[in-house]
Point group: C2
Chain length 412, copies 2
């Protein structure tokens, strides 16, 4: 266990998302140089490849001189613990400052890259309030929840190749928005989610139990699963969302290690009916993680992850119950996180009730759906060790206008 107490010689501003109790991992480059693994502290980034080069950190076969965290993540929980502990020690010993100076960069001087090479991207639908809201809006005549919803964590595979890092532009997608109508989406939305990143894979045919989450999951990212509601609505029967989601999914550049979130563990909501044995976790936990969604700088929602019905451990158990294997880099996202209160809804579709009650922003403009030029930023906060606060920074994206015409062959 890392000793979280004590201070660091790196300057950490009051309210920074990156106290020494956090030490999130990311991938960065400086001045067009090669990508390497870094850790954020205060408003600095520590270059782990440089530290390994000087012998201050174990090198792990070059795992830090990589364009993604995957090589490091594949080393497993023992290596994660050793590196985290060693790094925390170095950052607490003032005599290390001189030797480490060249391995530390101002955060605002580096380019943050996509931190993981995404293997499979699975998105769940695990917020009861979100699923209920969507059901009321889309299927007002029937029951709000789909038939299996309380019996298993409903989920599906998303497109791994279009997972992008915070800051990447999000271009308004074209699509079939109604029969015979192909055009830019008129119902562009965000979805505030929490994603667990798999570090250690598993073998095909060997299900992983809910209680084994910490043996496989490396850390947590914030996710914005951009959605085009009109495209999705036209296409989704019977195989589920496809082009309405696959144009972009943004994640935070920083992956907060599971270990940094120990103090944030909370008992999840009671499940009714009780889950089947394969979804049972003898010590179930969720995270006291509050998201904060800003639209053009203005807070529009604060979704509480702790109220999510299905837990991260259950996501893992369900995903592998049929013998499906895990790989390093798998991303398991929660689905939109919504709380019970209107101010806790994690999508614009819910906040504006499917366009019928548009949001009014501080500048007097209204939003039923996202406009070109809008910026959506999602931050997240969780309690850390010793009364600190753990943050992710944010996952942010700005809507760029649709391209003028699709690259069709020009014919009818």
């Amino acid at each position: 266990m890392t000793d979280e107490s004590g201070s660091t010689w790196v300057e950490v501003e009051e309210g920074s998302p990156f106290p020494i109790s956090n030490l999130p991992y990311g991938v960065f480059s400086v001045d067009g140089g090669p990508a390497r693994v870094g850790v954020a502290i205060g408003s600095s980034v520590v270059d782990l490849a440089a530290l390994a080069g000087t012998g201050l950190l174990p090198g792990l076969d070059g795992a830090f001189a990589q364009p993604s965290l995957n090589r490091f993540m594949a080393h497993g929980p023992r290596a994660w613990a050793v590196v985290r502990e060693r790094l925390a020690t170095l950052l607490r010993q003032p005599q290390r400052q001189a030797a480490m100076a060249r391995a530390i960069h101002p955060l605002d001087s580096v380019r943050l890259r996509l931190p993981i090479e995404v293997a499979d991207f699975v998105d769940f639908y695990s917020s009861l309030d979100h699923a209920t809201n969507m059901g009321h809006m889309l299927r007002p005549e029937g029951p709000a929840l789909p038939p299996a919803w309380r019996h298993l964590p409903v989920g599906y595979h998303g497109r791994a190749g279009t997972v992008v890092v915070s800051g990447a532009p999000v271009q308004r997608p074209w699509g079939q928005i109604a029969q015979g109508s192909f055009g830019p989406t008129a119902k562009l939305d965000f979805e505030a989610e929490v994603g667990f990143v798999v570090g250690v894979g598993s073998r095909r045919g060997h299900p992983v139990s809910a209680g084994s989450l910490a043996e496989h999951a490396f850390g947590v990212v914030l996710v914005n699963d951009w959605s085009a509601r009109d495209i999705q609505s036209f296409e989704y029967q019977p195989l589920g969302p496809f082009l309405g989601k696959s144009f972009a999914t943004s994640i935070s550049p920083w992956v907060v290690p599971l270990e940094a979130l120990r103090a944030a563990r909370v008992v999840p909501p009671v499940q009714d009916p009780p889950p089947l044995a394969y979804l049972h976790d003898p010590e179930p936990w969720s995270l006291d993680l509050t998201l904060e969604v800003r639209l053009n700088g203005e807070v529009v929602s604060r979704p509480p992850f702790a109220t999510t019905y299905w837990t991260p451990g259950q996501h893992l158990a369900h995903l592998t119950a049929n013998g499906a294997s895990l790989r390093t880099g798998d991303l398991l996202a929660s689905g939109t996180v919504s709380g019970r209160e209107p101010g806790q809804r994690g999508s614009l579709m819910e906040l504006g009730w499917n366009g019928t009650a548009p949001l009014t922003l501080a500048d007097g403009t209204t939003r039923a759906w996202l406009s070109d030029g809008d910026t959506v930023s999602i931050a997240g906060w969780a309690p850390g060790a010793d009364g600190t606060r753990i943050g992710w920074g944010e996952v942010s994206g700005t809507i760029h206008p649709a391209h003028p015409a699709p690259a069709s062959s020009g014919a009818p």
Copy 2:
């Protein structure tokens, strides 16, 4: 263009799927040695890494000494053409035989591996007869086709991490097969499909037209998308198939290059209504590719790929119409291929009409669904240059019994 005429000094048996007009690519290893790229001809495998090592083939930066075709595929159509032409020339010149002897192995002496590292796996639903059959069985009270079916190629993302090579065992999966019931699937099925493999990726935000298929697609594999119909039926609303499919998808070890299938191009079915402009292809084509499904050695179906409603080019155009990018290794499968005749249905669900009309096999046993120990093998044949026949060999898998109990935590 490769000159397809002339014979080869390698022995090619009458009826071999691998005449010199084919030259499919795969990945193999010998006696536990390193995996490398090979090409099948007759009952032999040509080791391209060895040929590149002797200077007989361009080395392409070590692209052939790799555990997957991805590095080679990423080089693009010019490199594919050069290698194919050079290889065909070498295999026609008897004076090369001595120099190439050490690069040629008997096919039955090598271990064939998964040929590609799958990036994203997309499965479509593009056979009109299959979609109609499924609709009649599953939604007898409503219209057979889903609302968008004739307007766009319906598709979804499958699990890339559980795509396995022919011969890999397929264990009967557990899952929720009804409310409160978790057990081994009782409705295990196969799906005979055709998959296109992406060699050259594309940029996010830049749709690819249907007519550009040959600039991106490297070749074609046979696919068996194993399905657990009871798990799928309980889980699929509203996000589509998930655990009912994700336990295994088998593909053929051989990827037949698009160039080898030139003589197999045929005009696809007329589409009504005419497709929107973004799905228009000025010179649309499909393949005269007949699948042959064997259950324990007995032919049970011959699905004709040429009747598939949506074309491979349209799959590509639709997938990227919203700006989604392609990556080397993307696998775009057709969905189950079924023809109009009962003997052309590509799944056991259709052949046995959802269990109501079980197949009777030659040994007198019946099959509503697959039994433990059953072997399903799918072969494929297409016309090649100069009257030859192009084959894939087969994609095969044997059903292993479910594991005795899931790895749950043991509690209720």
